[in-house]
């Protein structure tokens, strides 16, 4: 079975602890002497703090300490931004862990209470008196960029003035875009659209939290944290709290989903560390869900003005856009790279577009900082293009599938450079769409649609062809684009005397199932049973450096590191086996965990035989070191570019504006699938998150900057009963540069599905004359659009 384990949908090894309630998440950790922290967060979106009185809180039952920004000033450095976007006039505003003078969003921490019991901490938070002098607030990125907008920050960290709330202005351009538009104006078509990518709340089911345990005697600190990247947290925690990296251990225990919201380092985590240092006690802080909405990073929040130039026969000649990206009150850890590098470089998608230009303005607003959220920049890029292509199709009265076909990059299997200078690895975009259309009976659905509405319900079909960039990425590129870290991954593989294996890996999966897929990689490469491979991750004291799990990079980069390391094991084992069989290495063959001389498969040494000898070292070839262990730092030569095509089918009730998603098919190509069951699960979840953006989700602020959608009573997440079954199919195009040929799949579903659903709803509404509706498609918005179209 060993070689066939690659590609097998085996059950996940993570599951037994999860289905029995025996897994340990951060909030489940309880240490001797542990006290509890609760944060007081600003009740204003923008205000000057004129007075804080903590005396009543400090005197409340069980309260150990109350700290404000005065206490942490100097002790906690400002929160760092770790993506220093070059050539963009980046202005990083000071981001204190606890606000002392001015609060800039309703999640800003104003004080922290530590108490013996959790409810005592929460009770005491209610007793802190804060006087605020309210300042005008702005939460819309376009308004914030306007001339009369309230200004959030006077100066950046370098003392340079921040003007117009502008955090950066980044551009990407290629080809002669002005000529393309001039030609299209003269003898072609130009499509213009304003697209609002609404603010989304990631909603990992586990809220964020931290447990900090400082040992005064040793000066060592252990931080358990709900993070996607413990090594980055260690790095940044050291910078902010002053605990040296060698005395700092960060553990990501069981982590209940992240979707990008657990990439950033957060003030509350370091405030928890501060409390532990001050008090010499373990401190636990766990976010409530409402607090999560107020303080854990949000996603998207773009105002996009897009123009597309094309010939009269539907060939795209140019794309031009201006994006105002709301960044929230401060720049979160990776925030500047999301609406720029991960967005702008993918603007041409899977199409041959000769010219484009984009201006992205990052704008400070009085909202929660905006960070990566599943797809992170790429859904916003895919949506832009897929929407405009459908509009072009309607304008030219062509089928949307046809317009896509006229513009696809032809099939390629080893590199294709696009106008943004990226070099896509491999793809067959026309093939993907063709298979999707055939599988779904697209033509028959179009025929059905022609019959007209039934009972006032209008049928709509929506396509979305996408290519995305993931497996981030070559470290040299990381440096060039201002990412303050490498993007390689590392793995250590250690084979024990009995042939059992330990893998220590820097990646930090949190629900994706890589404990299983990594074991499958090891099993398939050296022929051990997958059940004999233990994967250790998420502990900076136990694992080599890793840059974390995000950007669909864990299997793509961490998996590659593991494959390279385990192949080193196999190479060494082969030399040792040759020695034991008294043969030359050149004559050796390997198959399914067995090493033998060519032509004599019966007389073989198994990986277990070799492991025993390597470890006892009684009889090794001259010069060979004992042990069977290998480590790798794998720096990918390029990104990987998964792609696919999705179809959404909807029915819209014209009388009420209700949208029902009645069918969804996803075709994705992530290269060879290590575990197809896990791949399918990633597609299901990703697709549904994108559907959520189209149909239900959206964070809303009122004019004073209060979050109106402040809890799960107002912010609608997809539920089991609002969804059709998702039909998942695939094609397999290996990446030419990856050791296993694999690409990422974690975000693909989300990148494709919002556009597919949006296009389907607009397709349904087309006979009613509706041309534009902002997401999400609430019944009222759809109904209003129908009424307005009737009136016009």
């Amino acid at each position: 079975m060993s070689t066939r384990i690659f590609g097998s949908g085996i059950r996940r090894r993570e599951d037994p602890r999860l289905i029995t309630g025996s897994a340990t998440y951060t909030a489940d950790i309880r240490l001797p002497g542990m006290a509890h922290a609760a944060m007081l967060r600003s009740s204003h979106a923008h205000a000057r703090i004129t007075r804080i009185d903590t005396s009543a809180a400090a005197a409340a039952p069980g309260v150990v300490a109350v700290y404000t920004g005065t206490d942490t000033e100097g002790a906690l450095q400002p929160m760092p931004c770790a993506w220093l976007l070059p050539d963009a006039g980046l202005k990083i505003a000071p981001y204190p862990c606890i606000a002392k003078d001015v609060v800039r969003y309703t999640g800003d921490i104003v004080a922290v209470v530590v108490a013996e019991r959790l409810h005592q901490a929460h009770d005491a938070v209610e007793l802190i008196e804060v006087d605020y002098e309210p300042l005008p607030a702005v939460t819309d990125p376009e308004q914030a960029a306007g001339a009369d907008a309230p200004q959030l920050h006077a100066k950046d960290l370098n003392g340079d003035a921040i003007e117009g709330n502008q955090a950066f202005h980044w551009t990407v351009a290629g080809g002669d875009v002005d000529a393309a538009f001039a030609a299209a104006e003269a003898d072609g078509v130009v499509i213009k659209e304003r697209i609002l990518q609404q603010r989304l709340i990631p909603n990992a089911m586990e809220t964020r939290g931290a447990v900090a345990q400082y040992n005064r005697a040793s000066g060592e600190l252990t931080l358990w944290n709900t993070t996607q990247n413990p090594h980055i947290v260690r790095f940044l925690c050291s910078v902010v709290t002053g605990v040296p990296e060698d005395k700092l251990r960060v553990i990501a225990p069981e982590v209940g989903g992240g979707f990008g919201s657990k990439i950033a380092a957060y003030p509350a985590d370091f405030v928890t560390v501060f409390c532990s240092k001050m008090l010499g006690r373990p401190i636990r802080w766990t976010e409530t869900r409402s607090e999560n909405y107020q303080a854990t990073t949000h996603g998207r929040d773009h105002v996009q003005d897009v123009e597309l130039a094309a010939t009269k026969d539907g060939k795209i000649t140019g794309l031009r856009c201006t994006v105002r990206a709301g960044m929230g009150a401060y720049l979160s850890t990776a925030a500047p790279g999301i609406p720029t590098i991960l967005h702008g470089l993918m603007l041409s998608g899977c199409y041959d577009i000769p010219a484009l230009k984009e201006d992205v303005y990052g704008v400070y607003t009085n909202g929660v900082p905006v960070e990566a959220y599943r797809g992170a920049g790429r859904p916003e890029a895919t949506f832009m293009l897929e929407r405009l292509i459908d509009m072009l199709a309607h304008k030219l009265d062509l089928d949307p599938a046809d317009v896509r076909r006229r513009n696809f990059i032809p099939k390629f299997d080893n590199g294709h450079e696009v106008v943004t200078t990226l070099n896509y690895d491999s793809g067959d975009y026309p093939g993907a769409l063709a298979k999707l259309l055939e599988h779904t009976g697209y033509q028959a659905l179009r025929e059905k649609q022609k019959a007209g509405p039934a009972n006032g319900r209008y049928l709509g079909l929506g396509l979305s062809s996408y290519v995305e960039i993931c497996g981030l990425g070559p470290s040299q590129v990381a440096g060039a684009i201002g990412f303050q870290g490498g993007l390689w991954e590392s793995a250590i593989v250690r084979v024990h005397p009995t042939g059992k294996v330990h893998v220590f890996i820097g990646a930090s999966p949190h629900g994706q199932g890589e404990e299983t897929t990594f074991a499958q990689i090891v099993a398939s490469e050296i022929g051990v049973d997958a059940g004999d491979v233990k994967i250790v991750h998420g502990d900076t004291d136990a694992t080599p450096m890793g840059w974390g799990t995000y950007g669909s990079r864990t299997t793509a980069v961490g998996g590659a590191a593991l494959a390279v390391a385990v192949r080193k094991i196999r190479d060494k084992a082969k030399v040792l086996a040759a020695h034991l069989l008294e043969a030359s290495v050149e004559d050796m063959e390997y198959e399914d965990g067995r090493f033998f001389v060519k032509g004599s498969p019966d007389k073989a040494k198994t990986i277990q035989d070799v492991a025993l000898m390597a470890n006892v070292a009684w009889d090794l070839p001259e010069g060979m070191e004992a042990g069977l262990e290998a480590s790798t730092f794998y720096d990918p030569p390029n990104f990987v570019f998964p792609y696919g095509a999705h179809l959404a089918v909807v029915e819209v009730d014209a009388a009420t504006g209700h949208v029902e998603l009645t069918g969804y098919t996803a075709l994705d190509d992530c290269g060879p699938q290590i575990n197809p069951v896990i791949v399918e699960g990633q597609v299901h979840g990703g697709v549904v998150q994108g559907i959520g953006q189209a149909l239900w989700e959206g964070a809303a602020y009122d004019e004073s900057g209060q979050l109106v959608t402040g809890s799960l009573l107002d912010y609608a997440l997809p539920r089991a009963d609002g969804l059709p079954p998702i039909d998942v199919i695939s094609t397999v195009t290996p990446s030419p540069h990856h050791p296993l040929g694999v690409k990422g799949i974690g975000e693909a579903g989300t990148i494709a599905s919002t556009a597919a659903v949006y296009n389907a709803v607009m397709d349904a509404l087309r006979p009613l004359g509706v041309t534009r509706v902002d997401m999400p498609f609430t019944p009222e918005r759809v109904w209003r659009a129908i009424q307005e179209a009737k009136g016009s």
Binding site: D15, G21, T24, D28, M205, G257, L712, R719, A720, D721
Partner: protein
């Protein structure tokens, strides 16, 4: 004011003097030290805290410990029979009905409730029966499959 309560959690009786405002979920997690039951929200929406009170599903974040005085509570830790997983646990495992696992304890107990009241539900009935439990990872599809699988397995045993 403190009130004496006696609650049996997974077969073990726990007697404590508690503040009346103590939620059952905190009783279970802190006093009974069974942390498998999760807290995912603060508005009774997510279902992560779902447990069985005298065999019937309830949201333990919307129940006071004093209300469960004298009751038998079953959490995810109490569902298996020793080493033998409950059929629903097996089905969630077999059908990849979980990813990060945080919603899973509540989801499995909500599925338990569904099958208690409807032994052979249709797909639509399963989706409806899980309306009170949020999952952000799976898109629910494999959860539905897992419940179908468990229902089918139960039917086969009969």
């Amino acid at each position: 004011m403190k009130v004496p309560v006696s609650i049996t959690v997974n077969g073990r009786r726990h007697e404590h003097e508690v503040e009346p405002r103590l939620l059952l979920v905190h009783f279970i997690r802190v006093l009974a030290e069974q942390t498998g039951t999760k807290i995912g929200c603060d508005t009774s929406q997510c279902g992560a805290c779902t447990v069985l009170i005298d065999g019937v599903a309830a949201k333990s974040c919307t129940t006071l410990a004093v209300q469960a005085d004298g009751a038998e509570v079953t959490t995810i830790e109490g569902l298996a029979d020793g080493e033998q997983l409950h059929p629903l646990q097996e089905s969630f495992w077999n059908k990849h009905g979980l990813q990060c696992g945080f919603c899973t304890p509540g989801m499995i107990l909500a599925a338990h409730e569904l099958l208690r009241t409807n032994a052979s539900p249709s797909e639509a009935e399963i989706r409806h029966g899980l309306e009170g439990n949020l999952c952000r990872c799976t898109g629910y599809q494999n959860i539905v499959r897992a419940v179908q699988d468990a229902a089918g397995a139960a039917a086969d045993r009969k």
